[in-house]
Symmetry: D2
């Protein structure tokens, strides 16, 4: 691999770590805001998405910080969850806090997508795949 | 959906929660064992996989316990990570502790595969997908 | 230390791990239940305590599973948080789910208290203590 | 409370959140560094302290971000754990990575001490205290 590619890969990884850490924080702060505000902001589905997003961002960042070879899997999951959280925040309307959370989720989702986008559903190992294939429909 | 199917789905979910929680615990205990034992048991790659597996099992269990609609994503990631951890533990040879960890990881991997196996890489949202598609190769 | 004492200490530690793991799980399930039920069950302060308790139980269990020499500190924090969560759940009245959560929190609080009860506020190190003492009131 | 005091309290809280988040990150990166370096850097006790510190920093930050009334308890635990981690890193000698980690741990420990320093060991509730007092020595 050429060194320019290495540098790009490193730069993408560093950016993704930043985005996951920032998104975790914003989702936690937004959760607190929504709990205090009540009404539609505190509906179960919305609060659950904020908790989901904060937790998977944390886990995704930790995999990358740990230098895990499997970070693409957690990035992939994080990309989807933060994408859904973005939608839920965007639906809240003209609220500046929700808007900031939606923007951060969008950035995290895109960043994680770049890191985890190549993940295809693969069997964790052939035997497990076979066992899964043998299950009744 | 027929009620028998609902019951099966509920039963699978409950089993998957049990397996993730048990696998988290066994991986944490095995990590402690490997740290104490040193040598090949304490090699970076192996310790990292045990940490990865413990953390994604915890996150995966929490998504299911929270009733998250996105638990299939974290289950999918957990299935792959626990499958890799199983392999790493199995390679350690005739050690009874490693064998028990490998067995629990295999069970968790299979259980999560059933919950998350239908996950296809989807774009978190169309715009993010487009932005990702527009990136230089 | 006599071997009977060692055995008692080990047995207390094992029980405390079980209690923290069980309390984490029950608090997560109760959080989901309360989110779905709404009303006083979904008030901010109550939900926050359930989230707090689930998280510190998880951390406290992880410290013990990791064989950390500092587990008394996280046990001490966990004892206080689960004690408060017990009170909050008990105030919800005759609800069988809340009653079960209160009972589990009480058991975890007591178990952690035995592990962490000897913790006195000590300075993490003398220099930090001095710096803290030098702060303006 | 005068508004200047409120502002100081808010400012301390914000600083403590920053310090816990930064310390979590540095400890994770240092853990990865130590795993790769081996030797005394990868001794069980040192790795365990880095894992302990990363986890309690994360939990402590989450309590503050969630607006928890009990954050002084997790701050207190975090202050002690990060103080110990500072010592362990400082003992590694002239290594610039370890020095940076020791410095961040010291800052986090002091910051958490300000937030949690007033915590006295209190009983989580009177009944639990009585049960603990009734235990055989």
């Amino acid at each position: 691999m050429a060194s320019a590619e290495v540098t790009n890969a490193d730069s993408d990884l560093r950016q993704c770590i930043e985005d996951c850490l920032a998104c975790h924080r914003v989702c936690m702060e937004t959760l607190t805001y929504c709990l205090g505000k009540g009404g539609k902001h505190a509906e179960a589905r919305h609060l659950r998405l904020l908790m989901d997003c904060a937790e998977i961002c944390q886990t995704s960042a930790n995999f990358m910080l740990r230098g895990s070879e499997l970070h693409s899997r957690t990035c992939f999951a994080c990309s989807e969850v933060s994408g859904r959280c973005e939608e839920s925040c965007a639906r809240m309307g003209e609220d500046v806090v929700m808007k900031a959370c939606a923007d951060m989720c969008a950035q995290c989702s895109e960043s994680c997508w770049r890191m985890g986008g190549g993940v295809m559903p693969q069997t964790p190992n052939p035997e497990a795949a076979q066992r899964a294939a043998d299950l009744p429909a």
